[in-house]
Symmetry: C2
Subunit: 511 residues, 2 copies
Amino acid sequence: MGQRRERRMGRRRGAQAGDPEADTIARIAQPVHRLPVYELASDEALDLIHRSALEVLSDVGIDFYHPEAEAVLKAHGVRMDGATAYFDREMVAEYVAKAPRSFTQLARNPERNVIIGENYLTFAPVYGPPFVYDRDRGRREATLVDFQNFVKMTYHSPWLHHSGGTIVEPTDLPVHTRHLDMVYAHARYSDKPFMGSVTSAENAADSVRMAEIVFGEKAIIENPALLSLINVSSPRRYDDRMLGALLTYARARQAVIITPFLFSGAMAPASIAGTLVQLNAEALAGIAFAQMVNPGTPVVFGAFQTNIDLQSGAPVFGSPESQIALYVSAQLARRHGLPFRSGGMFASSKVADAQAAYESIMVMLPAVLARVNFVLHAAGWLEGGLTAGYEKFILDEQLLGMFHKFLDGLDVSANGLALESLASVPPGGHHLGTEHTMRNFRTAFHRSDLFDYNSFEQWFEEGAQTAEERANRRYKQWLRDYEAPDIDPALDEALRDYVARRKTEIVPARD
Amino acid sequence: MGQRRERRMGRRRGAQAGDPEADTIARIAQPVHRLPVYELASDEALDLIHRSALEVLSDVGIDFYHPEAEAVLKAHGVRMDGATAYFDREMVAEYVAKAPRSFTQLARNPERNVIIGENYLTFAPVYGPPFVYDRDRGRREATLVDFQNFVKMTYHSPWLHHSGGTIVEPTDLPVHTRHLDMVYAHARYSDKPFMGSVTSAENAADSVRMAEIVFGEKAIIENPALLSLINVSSPRRYDDRMLGALLTYARARQAVIITPFLFSGAMAPASIAGTLVQLNAEALAGIAFAQMVNPGTPVVFGAFQTNIDLQSGAPVFGSPESQIALYVSAQLARRHGLPFRSGGMFASSKVADAQAAYESIMVMLPAVLARVNFVLHAAGWLEGGLTAGYEKFILDEQLLGMFHKFLDGLDVSANGLALESLASVPPGGHHLGTEHTMRNFRTAFHRSDLFDYNSFEQWFEEGAQTAEERANRRYKQWLRDYEAPDIDPALDEALRDYVARRKTEIVPARD
């Protein structure tokens, strides 16, 4: 049905004429979810969870550890007891309603702007791992080169719409200035939208300045250029670092994702409904707060949730309980009229093996059916988020392509029904080479060019490779083939100047 | 919410007191789907597909290559032109309505009877592969020992409710009598329900006789003891072998699954809606025919569907298009008021790697959400169904356990909401060891005992094993631990006598 927004674009400069990949990178846009959404919980169950969350907000309270935040809350009539904020029911509804239902995030290439919210899906790579893994070198600490590599691979993929944020921690760089190198890498090695630093108010301010350099001061107030990740220090606590970043971004009208970070059984009760009550309360508190800081600030209702293994305390990804939480969190976000972030290709496994793949799809397929608007960690996640896997990234990316095709839905046009063609093939005959098949040859079925569909004999003769082995070759090929998107040399110089100047200004405290 | 039917059962005889596995095998029953079902297609789209299928049935026709079948069709007013049957719309509705909405299939252990239809799910192992694979010996032709091994592993698993049929082809046995050894293995090495042979009318008759020996002649007419797989030789053709088996089973009132076997682009149009039209027409023709043979015969609406890669002609499993077909086929089956069979842990991959796992869940999770009543191939499938994988079986089985827990749904009882416990933990505290956590310790979260949730260091020190390597150890452990269920020695002797006598009667034609 062609439900994706297909945008016409010129070929990337420098690409070979007739290079199909160059075309693909340019052409694919974010998918639009026009299928029915899977609504797991009944309206009554949702009501009960929401009412319970309002009770938590008014009677139990949420802590905000930041003097400015406390002042903002007080000034807007929130009852404070020390750092603990108690929100009235009506107040929550009033402020949450000020957030937009959806917004456009700017990309350096305006053809790659993304819509966050409503029926649009956005896929971004893994965020946060201090380690990387590949088959050749095993697991090791991530470096700036790894960071740049993942930016480049994300740029290369037609199925990732967003460059993400701290794809990996570049541990070879000083802690206090590495945010500058990360933001620069996003702006230079890709032209897709990206995220800002949240490690402090100052680093958030640097991110905003660099966004102003790229997009202009006025432009980023009209449409945000940064979408940044504010995690709740669950249970029921916003820390000063996150609040500093949140204040900075909200004042600059840059988008934030307010995300309770919950392992049921550890930071939340050992039950899914209880976890959802807490998640809803924590997220709504932060969202209402952001609207007090600057009404209309684009915010995303976030849900990072899974459970621990109660026997060992280890986090478990892809669990059946986390699937249920994901579906119901999405229902809560829709009820609030807010864009929603959740899901990802989560895995506990250390390598891109069968366990990693089972776990990943057990989260990602529900994320698609639940219509998650922003899927962080949509490619590359391993080892509970401690490691970004090169091969895992390539494999996950293949699946993202399949989800795009899934969301095209069922075509019941005359061409889709194909009745004449059906009747034209006799019993025992076949549809290979029919006029209908030839006409639909390129579009009928999505094709993975990495998965193995060969005969056993051919597969065996070609080295009996596992999917991980094929992905290893593929990621190296992508990095060899990578060509940076064009950038105005003056813009590049301005960004480099800013980074250099700030590095001399920031006196790093020793870690 | 404890929505599963939990049955109390004595410990297996011979099991050690306190052996938790023995308890588990006995206790788990088939899951009941009380969640909302994912309805992908609109009512209008479903109508259009169904009306188009009725048009195919009345105007294009379906071939039945069997003289007795032709006679039955004619006697019931079906217009015949040679072997081609043309069904009126009213006639289709009339005969399909004679099939029961659900039925109980008998198991040798009555505690393991299964309900096929309505909200019940039944998981059965892979069916049909001529090869087996394990990490130690690689891929090789399957033997009777392999067949017995898979029966034993299926018996061992609490998450598989059904022993299946031709789990693998025992290629070391003569073609014309191996059905006797397979039925005997199901009856002897397990006490779960099983399938009959469909390789000829005679072999189906042997299956019925052996079921009569196990269950009694009257009992199997009241509730079927066999559920057998009648594949359509698509497009639009029932062959004499399948019709012979179908006639035998329907006359003996044994259940049959009528399954169009469709690779879109080969046996069906290169479009999903067109494939669904054909699938619906083919299945309804066979189901109406079965009701003409013996009104009230238990039948299952089956859908084996995926697409080929149009470039190479190779079948592709876990494709986005096949997911859509699965959801909509399930809607058609519900519309007809019939039990539904589809799905499985399908994979094109040759080994239990990431590709195999991605592909498998991309089919199996939709099968669960679509409420498939009978999932054949729910464990062990590799290489497009040519190979049964020992490790793949073990890994798939882990996921089946997770689906059981998923179907328990969201518990919004006071214990589920856990409001007091939520409020009792201070900001920054944790729920490990709270009274609520301790009370829910065993039931809150499903736990895989095969997946790795250890730290990287521990995983590395323990050999850095992939999931496939762990599954390799596990299947050997299962086979070592296996203890056959009790069987009345007289029954065992009667079955052995029947098999021995029939082997002397059947004069095998040389292959």
